[in-house]
């Protein structure tokens, strides 16, 4: 053991003094803003992964037929012996639905987080900004009007959704943007609501004109949002787009952080904001479009989850995005389980449930934001 160098002895003393000073100045760190260690982030991820596994198992076990969770685990791990009636339910009916739910929840949370940074407003959400409505309106047009006939709907619907999402986002962005380049909460929400209404009306119009009963149910499904259509053969596209989109956005964490300090702040720190925004708009539209093509417009997940995630790990995107993705996945798997079971055998569209919880949350956020603005003035 070597002797402690004279300089080394001062280290702990200095550290103690700084922490004592911090404690004196700020006895209760506001909002739990203590410096975060990688361990805390690792713990959060581990807890969320366990929660996702638990929620997934519960979602596989419960429903119109209740299956003991131990049997579910046996089936999943291939330890179930002989043909079992549960096998089909778990593997072919419920598992694709759970996977789609997790993917859509994660995707909406990631897109919501990103949009909030992009417009520098914590009230942004793919649903509130009209992006989801754009995607579903385009999807409905394709179904009802038979656009792109002859091509597989697994291609035409996601493509149309992406285009619809992108167009809606561009329109809302153009309407809400002020000459100086900023976005006020009011303008943004009004623009989003206006675009959503127009798109909803357009969807209804297309439906009325077409007047076919079999379209009605399908359109309703897109408007309300649900995961009931999940099948194994349709999971590849949403999972791929989700994985690539999320990985890219996590890689873009640094410029996303820069956007949070404002247009001029980001520019003087070396970010070409116009080009970056344009690129991220395309990326978020793509993810939203493809997810909405498979689940319909599920609202408020992209609003609530990023907030919850920020409360846990802060606003830096490198840690925020993975946490938001996992939280979104857990949230939607649980919400869909509730949607299937609360009024069983009725299968409530999960979008109805998320709106029921999300609406009040949005109002709370609006009030809190106003209180804070008032306090600052």
């Amino acid at each position: 053991m070597t002797q402690t160098r004279p300089g080394g002895r001062f280290q702990p003393v200095r550290r103690l003094r700084t922490s004592a000073k911090r404690d004196r100045r700020c006895p209760r760190p506001p909002g739990g803003k203590a410096p975060r260690t990688p361990l805390a982030y690792g713990t959060v991820l581990a807890v969320l992964i366990v929660a996702l596994a638990a929620a997934g198992t519960a979602a596989l076990a419960w429903g119109s037929v209740n299956i003991p969770p131990t049997d579910v685990v046996d089936i999943l791990t291939g330890q179930a012996h002989g043909p079992s009636p549960y096998r089909t339910i778990v593997l072919d009916v419920r598992l694709p639905r759970v996977i789609l739910g997790a993917a859509v929840g994660a995707g909406l949370a990631v897109v919501g987080t990103t949009l909030q940074a992009l417009v520098r407003n914590p009230l942004a959400d793919p649903f509130l900004l009209g992006v989801s409505s754009g995607a579903s309106a385009a999807a409905v047009s394709v179904i009802v009007l038979g656009l792109g006939a002859g091509m597989a709907t697994t291609v035409t619907i996601p493509t149309a959704s992406f285009a619809g999402a992108f167009l809606a986002l561009l329109v809302v962005y153009a309407l809400a943007r002020e000459p100086g380049g900023g976005f006020t909460t009011t303008r943004l929400i009004l623009a989003g609501v206006a675009v959503s209404y127009v798109l909803a009306a357009l969807t209804s119009l297309i439906l009325v004109v077409s007047a076919r009963a079999d379209h009605l149910k399908e359109v309703l499904y897109w408007t309300l949002g649900g995961l009931g259509s999940a099948r194994w053969d349709m999971l590849a596209l949403p999972l791929t787009v989700l994985a690539v989109g999320t990985a890219l956005l996590i890689a873009l964490a640094r410029p996303l952080d820069l956007l949070l300090v404002g247009e001029e702040g980001a520019t003087v720190l070396g970010l070409d904001t116009a080009r970056f925004r344009a690129g991220v708009f395309v990326l978020t539209s793509l993810v939203t479009g493809v997810l909405v093509a498979h689940s319909g417009a599920i609202g408020f997940v992209g609003l609530m989850v990023p907030h919850a995630a920020r409360m846990v790990v802060g606003a830096a995107h490198r840690v925020l995005l993975p946490v938001a993705a996992l939280m979104g996945a857990v949230f939607l798997v649980v919400a869909d389980l509730a949607a299937r079971t609360v009024a069983a055998p009725q299968d409530i569209p999960v979008g109805v449930l998320t709106a029921l919880t999300g609406g009040p949350f949005f109002l709370w956020l609006l009030r809190r934001g106003r209180a804070r603005e008032g306090a600052q003035a």
């Binding site: 700084t18 506001p30 803003k33 404002g262 702040g265 003087v268 720190l269 070396g270 802060g314 934001g369």
Partner: protein
């Protein structure tokens, strides 16, 4: 290293000329002050220099390279500033805000290294904000924010430091500390300042702007005269060389001079 502003003009889209053919130069190790009344074009000129505005005429040269040809990121590696709109609705910590200063030196996917973290810590200590490191930036006072954003500019390791009212919101002790710190960096410093006595003490040379034009320039002792202050600011003032500092000190006399300014 030399910053050269050449015949720079800026006209708003509606045709108002805020900066009119201004030329100035700042060398490495030199601190140059920009003074002038409200609306004289100081902020607009500085925003053109650090790239938030595109000048409608003239050039900004760094060692002869036209900055209009350099990318946003290349410019941010050489020029640092404290921008005006530092507000954010999201809760980033002070440490995260300061670490953003490393961005121009990084590929977008790169994280911060231990060396970056040392730079951040060092900069926070230099501006006296080390105790704030873990706090939420959005909840700091105006003066605390100003110091934190100054630390971020230091972390950028720029050749040129452009600061618009760096002493805004600061109490007198931090005003002196920040100006002394900036002066000692060895960078080419271009500062807009309201306090003429501070400007005279900390700047090697001053440029006086009025209605977008340079009306006087040179060492503070030559530029700051009662006559000039009466003409540009419309105030009566006495300028004496202070025995302790050796720099001109401005004392304002009651009442104003001439017509009120538009």
């Amino acid at each position: 290293m030399r910053l050269h502003v050449e015949d720079l003009s800026y006209e708003t889209p509606s045709g108002r000329r805020l900066v009119d053919a201004v030329s100035l130069a700042v060398s490495a190790g030199e601190t140059v002050g920009l003074v002038g009344p409200n609306g004289s074009g100081k902020t607009t000129l500085l925003r053109c220099v650090y790239g938030a505005l595109r000048p409608t005429g003239g050039r900004v040269l760094l060692d002869g390279d036209d900055l209009a040809d350099a990318g946003v990121k290349a410019r941010a590696r050489r020029i640092a500033t404290v921008p005006q709109d530092g507000q954010t609705g999201f809760e980033l910590t002070v440490r995260q805000i300061v670490a953003m200063g490393r961005s121009p030196h990084k590929r977008f996917w790169e994280g911060d290294t231990a060396a970056d973290e040392d730079l951040v810590q060092g900069a926070l200590e230099r501006v006296g904000a080390a105790a704030l490191a873990g706090r939420a930036f959005a909840r700091l006072s105006g003066g605390e924010r100003q110091r934190v954003l100054t630390a971020r500019a230091l972390v950028q390791e720029p050749a040129v430091l452009v600061l618009d009212e760096p002493t805004n919101h600061l109490d007198i002790r931090y005003q002196l500390e920040i100006l002394g710190l900036v002066r000692g960096l060895g960078t080419a410093n271009l500062l807009a300042l309201h306090d003429l006595t501070l400007a005279a003490y900390y700047c090697d040379r001053l440029y006086v702007l009025d209605a977008g034009r340079v009306v006087a320039s040179g060492p503070p002792g030559d530029v700051l005269t009662g006559e000039l202050l009466a003409k540009v600011y419309g105030v009566a003032a006495e300028v004496v060389v202070h025995p302790a500092t050796g720099a001109p000190t401005v004392t304002y006399l009651p009442g104003t001079v001439g017509e009120p300014r538009a």
